[in-house]
Amino acid sequence: MATARTEPAARRRQPPVDVPVVEFKDVTKVYGGGSVAVQAASMRIGRGEFVFLVGPTGCGKSTCIRLMMKELEPSRGAIAIAGRPLAEVPRSRVPHLRRNIGVVFQDYKLLPNRTVYDNVAYSLQVIGESRKEIRRKVPDILRLVGLSTKLHNFPDELSGGEQQRVSIARAFVNHPPLLLADEPTGNLDPETSIGIMQLIYRINRTGTTVVVATHDKEMVDKMRRRVIELREGRIVRDELSGLYRPDESTTEFAVRLRGELGVGDEGHPN
């Protein structure tokens, strides 16, 4: 509880502009089997930014997210969150690190045997918040995500979009400075996805840095935020207000389609 208070204070003391919220320096992650998930990736994400991490399945998006929350350790290179090198965070402090990072997953990861209210309350109970504060904050955040009528429902009684809203409420209820979302709309229809993105955008507007890993092309193209594209573990593109894929004519697309299927004239056999 004491740390929850001191850590933001420590951050406030740092110069606000220079220190990126997320910094990757030449990060490589090789899994046990020898498969390379991320290769020599370097990036800086500043305070208050909204960043899309895009690329096809298996390009290393999720690995990047998991590296940021120290669920995985990089094989090489260094990661710093708010100027603090993750390598220096001892195992016992990892929970405290995670309290300052909200995370949203494609599969929501709600606790199935708790109501909506209890799911959100849990992340406050974890940091030792008083009962009074919990009773004040949880209905507030659930109103924000538009679920104030479903407080006492269990996750399996909610639609996918509603479950994702609960998961966002849980991630944001103690106002972390960084929000990570791994395919937050991966399981949702386009209409619902827009609602979820709106919510995440609204959170971003409060000053929270947001990193969204996604392959939702439509969403990326419409939002026009910073895009970092990964391809086989490498960062191949990093542009402010980019598209999911740089502009491509129908002919170019046709060529690529044929090429990737291996049926075109110049088709490579992979």
Partner: protein
Amino acid sequence: MRWSFFLKEALRGLRRSSAPALAALLTILLTAVVLGVFIPIVQATTGTANEVRSRVVVDVYVKDSATQLEQAELRKAIEETGNVKSVEFISKGEALARAQEKNPKAFEAGAELLGSNPLPASFRVHPEDPDRLDEIVSRLNADGEPQLAAIDEVRDREEDTDKILSATGLVKALTAGLAVLLVLASIALIANTIRLSIFARRREVEVMKLVGATNWFIRWPFVIEGMIVGFLGGLLAVLLLAIVKTTFVDPLSDRFALLAAPDTIDFPLLVVLLMFACIAVSALGSGITLRRFLRV
């Protein structure tokens, strides 16, 4: 706030996953009953074995010619020898009285016929550890030579001693081996049941870690849950044992000496021991099994 929260979480866990909890409870109940039956049996057996072993003695015969001073010296020497528990002096008169008691027929005509008392005085030495009887013998009677002037002969009734020692040693080793096996089997059984019940909830643990719960924050409800299950299992086992004891064992104990063996554990102590073991094993089992799921 924290502890009431943990307790509430533990009760919630029990409610939501009552089937695995029930399995763990039954496992604990059964092993506790088996242990509760086995502990007194082991004790009665080893108690009897020990009682037999206590009959192993060394007799040190004193020369008739020995003076009072020499006798006192001898006694002191024996007492100072290692592995000696107690020394008992049997005077010539006493020895005769005992012989007479043992074999009245031989003395029918009266001891007077013998003219004088032929039996020597002796010290009967009870060893601390019957297995190391040799130490005493070799100290007082090195290489067949008495080490003190007052000693006539040192005798350890080798044959009897060896028989007693090997027979009781085997019994003790067997019961000890069985006890160890039983305890190991119990722990493995309980550990497996607990692992199953926690495995069913590993996703929950994973999510808790992702929202920043410390390991102990996650662990305490599980440990408390384990304690509750252990307590209930132990309580039922003790009740069962008490019923069996009062209805079957107590009426029979008059007829079977082993059941009434004085060395066996008191029932209240057994109850306390079993309850403590149940709670500790169950709580520790939960806490330790959880460890592998906490590595996220």
